[in-house]
Amino acid sequence: MVDPRIYEMFRDIGRDLFTSNMISSHGGNLSIRLGDRVVIKRRGAMLGQLKPHDLIETRLDRNDSGVALASTELLVHRTVYLNTPALAICHCHPRTAIAFSLSRDELVPIDNEASYLLKKIPVVTEEFASGTLQMANKVAEALRNYKIIMLRGHGSFATGQTLDEAFHWSSTLEESCQIELAAKLINEPFIEYRGMSGSYSKF
């Protein structure tokens, strides 16, 4: 049985992901690492309306009966945990960021907040962009060096010590992309206000 304090964390972040338009009704997923276990959203559960029984605890290193109930993205979560120091993962579908990922190999923020926090978000491509080992390996590899990455056309994967932190990177990314979209609509020359921003793409 998962500690009620942990359930409340999933419930609150899941609700916020939905209400902030970062996922569709059944999209996205969240997980945390508890030592050699993973707690992840149940397959088909709605993040915006999580109940205690929607959290599945399963092994990190191999399958057990929990795999029959867990999110289809369990594989990528496990692979990320095994290859990075992450203790929490937030996967969501930030719409503007997905739109930018269709034409760019990296997203370099122009707004202040994301410039401070993210510097650069790599975009990785995988034809089978959901639930496959190839996808899991590519995402995990990218997350070894960056705390948030985009899977082209699919969505973002963010890591942190807590769900709160991983959600922070996710919402910062989407906000940054919305600002850039707005700036494009305004269509006036960009006035650089940051120092050494030319180095962001090398971060």
């Binding site: 508890l34 203790l87 010590q161 932190e165 050494m196 180095s199 090398k202």
Partner: protein, 594 residues
């Protein structure tokens, strides 16, 4: 070798000779420097048969690849030895200027072996090493000695012991730059046992940086982040570490009167706000530090650095004392005598409780600020009751039949944060490789300050993952070596990139943390070899059974047992707390067992 100097200085005090040889590059890549490199070298040099105060023990001074590069807080260095207080592996690290100067002298490591026949001091000017007679300096206190040996912050730096180290107090620190301390675990006693009074360094070589352009960018970004964090740009500069006094008291996690309570009614009187308003003269900084948490404070009797939060707590709340000038003066006295203020304060608190309960025949009482100075003097010189207190609270309380009143883990006095109100912190103390210590992966960031995000301080399930990650991260940072306060504004990912830019070896964030895990497991192996077992991963009975009767932590004890089981499993250790062969293979340590 960019970042590293590439040189080891190996000193034999028996013969007063030295050799130099190249640093093992593969070892440096695997353990980086500082604490990690020290632990790896100690493993080979000091086995379980060695008494910590015998000539066979060694002092291993190390810096790291970031030291003296100019990266923010790249001033720190470590000493590694077998602790005379705990019998465990010990590393202590310190800021100031000496570490930067030591690196500029051209060395990553200095090993000090043996014992000089008579007191000596050593002078290092790059490859010119001189042994001087210290007979006339023996007995001098730290401040006078530091001045006499020509301390000059940017050119010539003094590291030394005071009377406590000479008298082999197991609470003796090694002091540098007058008021900086390699404090915990008694390294000053090891230096005293070697008849080594001081090491003075002058250096002239800045380390090479492999990718200066990337380094410059990261330096710039770090400056921005430190300025953006209210902790590193406001709280620490304005109030110093004592900013934590009211915060910890308000949440009911400020250990008080030898951990008999978790809130202190006099906290406000010894708070950072009070210190700043009434006693602060100015701020000061270690070399290359933009944070400037150091306080220069003044009373009618003394003016000097400090006191830090832990000191103010140990000599204050832990002893039931709310007299801030007396605490400032006691702090200065500890520095001048060369003593660890945390262990000194908590040992006095233990003696106060023993006395109040009639187990110890002394007039020591909680709240008696007037007793502080005399008992500290007595401890440093092993006089009167000080002889019983000089070796820490566990030996004291055991002698008088009540070891349960020693607030220690593995024999080291715990700091201010009461584990009953901070479940993760309790697990951290119990599993710390050098004993009850908050600098081995502090959970205050997560459980109190919200760094990087706030977690529930009473949560038990899953706490081990946070503790382990922070222990590993902490071991990595201690191996770079930089100040952990930088981590309050800057995430580990920056440190990995700086390490890569300086050395030219690409460390992903996870790889840098993995170095920390390697160091942690090696330290654990060392302690296991010394005879420590899972039975030693515990806390004083008071914290496991006596819940506070009031305050925000009312009704809580430390739920150590379930956290510890989860911890061992998560660490990849067996149920007895021994790293498995699989884990050691993964970390490249399995060969050490052969």
């Amino acid at each position: 070798m960019a970042g590293w100097s590439g040189n080891v200085l190996d000193i034999d005090l028996n013969s007063q000779t030295f050799t130099t040889y190249p640093l093992d590059r593969e070892m440096a890549r695997q353990f980086i420097g500082g604490r990690g490199l020290g632990a790896r070298l100690l493993w080979d040099m000091v086995g379980p048969e060695v008494d910590p105060l015998s000539p066979a023990n060694v002092l291993i001074f190390t810096n790291g690849p970031l030291t003296a590069t100019g990266y923010q807080t790249s001033n720190r260095f470590s000493v590694t030895t077998k602790s005379p207080l705990t019998g465990t592996v010990l590393d202590a690290n310190s800021g100031g200027f000496w570490g930067m100067q030591f690196k500029k002298a051209g060395y990553d490591v200095m090993i000090v072996r043996g014992r000089a026949e008579k007191p000596i001091w050593i002078e290092i000017k790059n490859d010119e090493i001189t042994f001087h007679d210290a007979s006339e300096l023996w007995g001098l206190r730290v401040f006078a000695l530091t001045e006499k040996l020509g301390q000059n912050n940017n050119r010539r730096n003094v590291l030394c012991i005071g009377p406590a180290g000479e008298n082999l107090s197991r609470l003796a620190s090694i002091m540098n730059d007058r008021e900086r301390a390699l404090a915990r675990g008694g390294p000053g006693a090891v230096m005293g046992s070697k008849n080594l009074k001081a090491i003075v360094v002058e250096g002239k070589d800045r380390p090479k940086i492999e990718d200066p352009e990337r380094f410059k960018f990261l330096l710039y970004e770090t400056r921005k982040l430190l300025a953006a964090s209210p902790l590193t740009s406001q709280a620490l500069p304005e109030f110093g570490t004592v900013v934590l006094m009211n915060i910890m008291n308000n949440i009911g996690a400020l250990a008080t009167r030898n951990h008999q309570q978790t809130q202190f009614e006099g906290a406000e009187a010894i708070s950072g706000e009070e210190l700043t308003e009434k006693y602060l003269v100015r701020n000061a900084s270690c070399w290359a530090c933009p944070i400037g948490c150091t306080r220069i404070s003044k009373t009618g009797k003394v003016e000097g650095e400090g006191p830090e939060f832990e000191t103010t707590w140990a000599l204050g709340a832990q002893c039931g004392i709310d007299d801030l000038p007396a605490i400032i003066e006691a702090n200065a006295l500890c520095n001048d005598l060369g003593m660890d203020t945390i262990s000194v304060g908590s040992t006095i608190a233990c003696a106060m409780e023993l006395s109040e309960k009639g187990y110890l025949d002394s007039d020591l009482r909680f709240g008696r600020a007037d007793q502080l100075a005399s008992v500290i003097e007595a401890m440093a010189y092993r006089k009167d009751i000080g002889a019983d207190l000089a070796d820490g609270s566990l030996r004291l309380a055991t002698k008088y039949g009540h070891p349960e009143l020693s607030m220690t883990a593995k024999g080291m006095e715990m700091p201010a944060y009461d584990p009953r109100g901070l479940q993760g912190q309790g697990l951290l103390y119990a599993t710390s490789n050098r004993g009850g210590c908050h600098m081995r992966g502090n959970m205050i960031g997560l459980e109190v300050l919200g760094l990087p995000k706030l977690i529930d301080r009473f949560q038990v399930q899953g706490k081990s993952s946070f503790v382990i990650l922070n222990q590993n991260s902490s071991a990595a940072i201690d191996s770079l070596v930089i100040c952990k306060f930088t981590n309050m504004g800057v995430a580990d990912e920056y440190f990995a990139r700086v390490l890569s830019a300086v050395t030219g070896i690409q460390y992903a964030t996870g790889e840098m943390i993995k170095v920390g895990e390697r160091v942690w497991n090696l330290e654990r192996l060392y302690n296991n070899r010394e005879g420590f077992t899972s039975k030693d991963d515990t806390l004083p009975p008071r914290l496991l059974t006596e819940a506070p009767g009031d305050g925000p932590s009312q009704g809580w004890v430390s739920h150590l047992e379930p956290m510890l089981k989860e911890y061992y499993r998560t660490r990849g250790w067996d149920q007895n707390g021994v790293p498995t062969k699989q884990k050691l293979t993964e970390l490249g340590l399995v060969n050490l067992l052969n």
